[in-house]
Point group: C2
């Protein structure tokens, strides 16, 4: 299976321009699954709830999700992308999953970071796994099980763990990282759960109101054995496609005696 | 507070020699809390349950715990040490905590690694926090809250998380690591829980039966901000004392909006 990540700088508020940039990166490579950064279409640092409401879109009717669906149909691919979602009077920091047949799912970030709490409502949907299909090298189709989490969700081990317990092969992880520890921590997340992770981060600096934020790049593809299969540069836009076998994530037995999930001693956990 | 770790090679089955070696390392430095490796007194790689039973000791009556208590009284210190514990007909991979007033607590490893499952019974005691006192630099006494976990417990994020939720300032982590990822993963454990960790590992190679195991050293003191305050060499015995302030682990607020424990969305966790 070919999985790709797109690391871009987004221009705040310029949705059409940002979407076009991401689409052109994806169009230059073939992949069965793409992950784009968090809030890739709007930019990150809102300064009011009204502004967030104005830039947010209904899912799946909004223009960003519709543009992604068109690209997924055209390229016969799947795309996970972070966008601001408007649902009634609430705004969510969300990610959508779309595929060749159209809209598949939305995830709403559970663990909001810093000022996001001022504009977004915390997620109200459970972690969930979606089965997506991709062409087998031997002919026919194979299935990968993917789950979504967004940026700061990484610091709560329960996020990746919940997705692994639900059967995820691949964690799709749109991000706008400003703290430095996440890329290394994703090695731990993948090792402890024996899953792949696709962390698509943004680059660049955004100055909005009093906040100047610099995003750390280093988008990363991490294997179930904790290998960093790809890590992007800190400051440059990047697109990368990696061949992986999602089945590597399915055997949680790490030796003849130990299984990462069935060895859990849940009655002793808080 | 002065915390110390002792990284030694243990000679299989030579309890008295191993205990004397650990005591002499500790006697050469002053600390308020020491952590020794897993199974530091017996060596690691048993080849039969009978052998494990023979080398295991009752806690706190056994000679190793008694020797540690004598040292803790003499040096007015606390010691966490991994030993094989015999309790009735069961053998546990345990760690004891002793202090200037004698025996304090035992923890029995919950997540047994590899062939340990052949000789040891999995732990049957809950994670627990103990308050230990140490002299304040300004006079008087201060309290540190410590919890114990053993080696492979690290790969289950629930271990460190449970101890943090119970209020641990410091994870005391006797280890006999053979896999390479733990020292880096402890950075994630400390960051996600904002706790200190004292990972005391052994060094050397042990050949017993058909198994030849090499221990990776790299004993480590990690801060609540994910800084590696000390990492020992891979192959040499080492003793290290570090000044830390356990109170750094108590404020789980990482910025004005985010708290690592109260931000958890437990109703969405599996």
């Amino acid at each position: 299976m070919k999985v790709g990540i797109v690391q871009i700088d987004s221009a705040f508020g310029e949705i059409q321009k940002n979407v076009e940039k991401a689409l052109s990166h994806m169009a230059s490579h073939a992949a069965d699954l793409w992950v784009l950064p968090e809030l890739f279409n709007t930019g990150y640092q809102f300064i009011s709830k009204e502004e967030a409401a104005k830039l947010a879109e209904a899912v799946p009717e909004g223009p960003t999700t519709q543009a992604l669906i068109r690209e997924a149909k055209r390229a016969k691919t799947h795309i996970v992308a972070g966008i601001a979602e408007r649902s009634g009077r609430k705004i969510y920091n969300a990610s959508v999953l779309v595929g060749p047949k159209g809209f598949i799912a939305v995830y709403r970030k559970l663990h909001l970071f810093y000022e996001e709490k001022r504009w977004f409502t915390p997620g109200n949907l459970p972690f969930k796994i979606e089965n997506i299909s991709y062409p087998s090298p031997k002919g026919g189709r194979m299935t990968a099980r993917i789950g979504m989490m967004i940026c700061f969700d990484w610091i709560f081990p329960e996020s990746a763990r919940s997705l692994a317990l639900l059967g995820a092969d691949i964690l799709c992880h749109p991000s706008n990282l400003v703290l430095t520890h996440c890329p290394d921590a994703m090695v731990t997340r993948c090792l402890e759960n024996r899953v792949f992770a696709l962390t698509a981060n943004r680059v660049g600096t955004e100055t909005r109101g009093k906040e100047k934020l610099t995003y750390i790049g280093k988008s990363q593809i991490t294997s179930p054995r904790g290998q960093v299969l790809y890590r992007a540069a800190e400051k440059k836009e990047a697109v990368w496609v990696q061949e992986i076998d999602p089945k590597e994530a399915r055997n949680k037995q790490i030796n003849a005696y130990n299984n990462l999930l069935t060895d859990r001693k849940t009655r002793f956990y808080r």
